[in-house]
């Protein structure tokens, strides 16, 4: 057991995968010499060489396109998109090739590609550096989309994603990179495509993933002082969704709040709400409520804290849910 930051846990996870499989290659902008702008690939090029940790040109489309070719030849590329807002030049490659080649080739060409995307805001960054594009990928059949929320999950999930034969969009909560957690490297990890109850509660079920998990846990602690017991579930996998633990929770609490940084309109929360309504209709004491970003482009960083869901917005939604 050791205490480790999320960024370092990813670094260790990448290192473990590279040591375990010579076909794993890391590629992206500044991932080599610089070690990544968030230091997630720190030291990997020094230890594994320039052939396995590749500094690419500033061309996301090129990064993913190259990865498709590598995957066809049996490699397991791990691509870093430096910031969420930089992924769009690669969107065509991801949606048209990465997501479809396995299907198009009748199962002959698996695409074991991991696309790492630091996502979400909260670091006071400029435009294009704080977005939450997960729904765009979750809506694309053929991609798996997962999001880690803490160092221990990050360590295991990145290795599981690399071991997965399907393409995985791997979302990293960039503002939580320096959050520390205990990591037990001997423990058996939960399956990659599973959600997890991270705090037990009885009154309201709060669902989150990535950076919002910590926010929701803080909300649960604040609510407990007021006598409200919040159960927090970390969704972890956004496509496919793993909602059985959610249904079980909702059948006990009867109330749900879904929280994400992405805009509420047509976000992950909308799909989750629809499925809960289908599966738990008679258990619902209140409508499924959503907390998320407003329907605007991500704002300048000086006002991002007004935009991002925080403890108060989560608890306001909890109050509204309990008022029914």
């Amino acid at each position: 057991m050791s205490t480790i930051t999320l960024a370092k846990a990813l670094n260790d996870g990448l290192r473990a995968s590279m040591e375990g499989d010579a076909k794993v290659v890391v590629m992206g902008e500044d991932v080599g010499k610089l070690g990544g702008v968030f230091r997630v690939t720190d030291g990997l090029q020094k230890d594994f060489g320039e052939d396995r940790v590749i500094d690419t040109p500033l061309s996301e489309s090129g990064i993913i396109g190259t990865a498709v070719g590598l995957a066809m030849r049996g490699y397991r590329p791990v691509c870093e998109i430096q910031f969420d807002g930089f992924v769009y030049p690669a969107y065509d490659q991801i949606v048209s090739q990465v997501a479809k080649l396995h299907f198009r080739s009748g199962g002959r060409l698996p695409m074991p590609i991991v696309i790492r995307i630091p996502f979400g805001g909260g670091i006071g960054a400029v435009e294009h550096h704080s977005e939450s594009p997960e729904a765009q990928f979750a809506h694309t059949a053929g991609l798996k989309v997962v999001a880690c929320s803490n160092a221990a999950d990050a360590y295991w999930m990145i290795q599981q994603a690399i071991a997965c034969d399907d393409p995985v969009v791997f979302l990293e909560p960039k503002r939580r990179y320096w959050e520390k957690a205990n990591l037990d490297r001997e423990a058996a990890p939960a399956p990659l495509l599973s959600s997890k109850v991270v705090r037990d509660g009885t009154d309201v079920t709060v669902l989150a993933y990535g950076p919002m998990v910590k926010t929701c846990l803080e909300s649960a602690i604040a609510a407990a002082e007021g006598g409200t017991s919040i159960e927090v579930i970390d969704l972890r996998t956004l496509s496919p969704l793993d909602l059985e633990p959610v249904y079980a929770s909702v059948r006990r609490t009867g109330r749900v709040v879904v929280v994400h940084e992405a805009v509420v309109n047509l976000g992950i929360g909308a799909e989750v709400a629809a499925r809960i309504t289908e599966q738990c209709f008679y258990a619902l004491e209140s409508p499924v409520l959503r907390v998320g970003g407003f329907d605007t482009p991500y704002p300048p960083s000086r006002i991002e804290e007004e935009y991002l869901p925080d403890l108060d917005r989560v608890l306001d939604a909890v109050d509204r849910s309990l008022a029914y």
Binding site: S2, T3, I4, T5, A7, K8, N11, D12, K33, L34, G35, V37, F38, R39, D42, G43, K46, F83, G122, I123, G124, A125, V126, H129, K174, R175, R176, Y177, W178, T202, T215, E218, A222, R251, R252, T253, G254, C280, F281, Y282, A283, L284, E285, S286, S301, D310, L311, D312, L315, D316, D319, R320, A323, Y324
Partner: protein
């Protein structure tokens, strides 16, 4: 004792080197955390660097005017209270290993961005304003999140905390678990009087109407809800009125030996009487129906055959003839079958009887019938004709000796004597079915009673004979 060495940090994206423009401190000076110690010039701009340590400046490791690579130690600080020894090589983990590698420094240990405490100003280290240093942006906040003070029960933007439900007019307002509860208990939500805010039906409203509190009250919703699958079956828990009905019917059917007799008759004159009474100003405030006339006829007929208004006392081995008629009316309600009775119906005039009947039916339809109104009945009428059927074999209300089923009143061909002999003409016709307890009543008495009722309905004027 270890000296703290401050290495030239990344102060901008892609920074690899910087020139030391001027020192703001000299060896021996006392510095506090975040005191500006040096000004450097990068490819982009002049930057003042704050000191991440408190203590005494031990040494300036780089002279003014020199250009050094990122990661190069530039100043050594002795922690407070320590002597000032000569600088030693860095023993602690360097943070920015990639930068250090770029700087061609001896390579730092592997544990870079991980377990150790990261120096302020370096990526992952402390930044001013309670933040963490990053390459791009001000850095995430490290301060603890606290809930803002709250004003009473109101939500922030003036939005009312309690949602005001809006439903189309005429639709009931109830949330899904309450709808499920109502379904389980056999309660029609349309019959429930809502007590919730904005006319919302609450769980207790449903339970109150169902008579008994749900055994699931207090337990979380949905836990014992049986899922309904397409093509499968729906399992309805037997409780409340359904349970009472079932128990009463079993007890009655397997205790009292039932005999049922039938009579089909021409009730055209009764229908004419009903029409006349409806037009009568004195009856304007009450509902006049065939059921009313049948009720009156039963009250009259028991005078000749009191055995039909009796009870079998098993323990005393006696037949108890009741002196008044508490006339039960079987009513299909949202809660299920209930049989409230009109106490002393035989002593009422027709108008009073109509009023009592109207009130009883109204209360039952609203689901507000009280248990006391269902106790002490002596004879029951069940008006199955309203469902469009010709009658059936009614089962006695437990404790009673007779029950009369009234079938639908409809136009049927009927043989009548006319001036030109027998003719088939359309008439108002109905079927009566009388069940009686053969322990108390024999066929002769039962038949006489049924015939009397029949005669009163086919020729209401014969009431004059009673």
């Amino acid at each position: 004792m270890t000296l703290k060495e401050f290495k030239l940090p990344d102060v901008g994206e892609g920074l690899t080197e910087a020139e030391i423009v001027g020192w703001r401190v000299k060896p021996g000076d006392t510095v506090r955390v975040n005191d500006i110690v040096v000004e450097i010039e990068t490819a982009k701009s002049l930057v003042e660097l704050p000191c991440p340590y408190a203590g005494t400046v031990a040494d300036l490791l780089v002279a003014e005017g020199e250009t050094v690579l990122v990661g190069t130690p530039i100043i050594a600080v002795a922690p407070e209270g320590a002597d000032v020894p000569s600088p030693q090589p860095a023993a602690e983990a360097g943070v920015d290993e990639a930068a250090a590698a770029l700087a061609a420094q001896p390579s730092a240990p592997d544990d870079v961005a991980g377990d150790g405490v990261v120096e302020a100003g370096l990526i992952g280290g402390a930044a001013p304003g309670g933040r963490t240093s990053v390459l791009v942006g001000y850095g995430p906040r490290t301060t603890e999140a606290k809930r803002r003070p709250r004003k009473g029960a109101a939500a922030p933007d003036g939005e009312p905390l309690t949602p005001s439900p809006e439903g189309p007019a005429g639709r009931v307002l109830a949330k899904p678990p309450v709808r499920k509860l109502a379904k389980d208990l056999g309660v029609n939500l349309l019959a429930v009087t809502p007590s919730g805010l904005g006319g919302v039906i609450t769980r207790s409203d449903v339970e109150a109407l169902a008579g008994a509190p749900s055994p699931r009250a207090g337990t979380p919703p949905g836990t014992s809800a049986a899922p309904v699958r397409p093509g499968g079956e729906t399992r309805i828990p037997v409780k409340g009125v359904r349970k009472m009905t079932a128990e009463a019917m079993v007890r009655s059917a397997f205790t009292a030996p039932h005999v049922t007799e039938w009579l089909t008759l021409d009730v055209t004159r009764m229908v004419e009487l009903v029409e006349r009474l409806k037009a009568d100003r004195e009856f304007a405030d009450v509902r006049v129906s065939p059921l009313l006339v049948v009720a009156k006829a039963v009250c009259l007929a028991v005078r000749r055959t009191p055995e039909l208004n009796a009870t079998w006392d098993e323990s005393a081995q006696e037949i108890v003839l009741k002196h008044g008629v508490n006339l039960g009316i079987a009513a299909a309600t949202p809660r299920g079958l209930v049989v409230p009775n009109i106490v002393g119906a035989d002593a009422m005039g027709l108008h009073d009887l109509a009023a009592a009947l109207g009130e009883l039916v109204g209360i039952a339809r609203d689901g507000r019938t009280q248990p006391a109104q269902m106790a002490g009945g002596t004879f029951t009428i069940t008006n199955v004709g309203v469902f469009g059927v010709d009658a059936g074999t009614p089962i006695l209300n437990p404790g009673e000796t007779g029950i009369l089923a009234l079938g639908s009143v409809s136009r049927r061909p009927w043989v009548v004597d006319g001036p030109d002999g027998e003719q088939v003409v359309p008439r108002w016709v109905t079927t009566l079915a009388l069940s009686f307890d053969h322990r108390v009543v024999d066929g002769a008495q039962g038949s006489r009673f049924l015939a009397d009722v029949g005669r009163l309905l086919s020729d209401p004027a014969t009431a004059m004979l009673y």
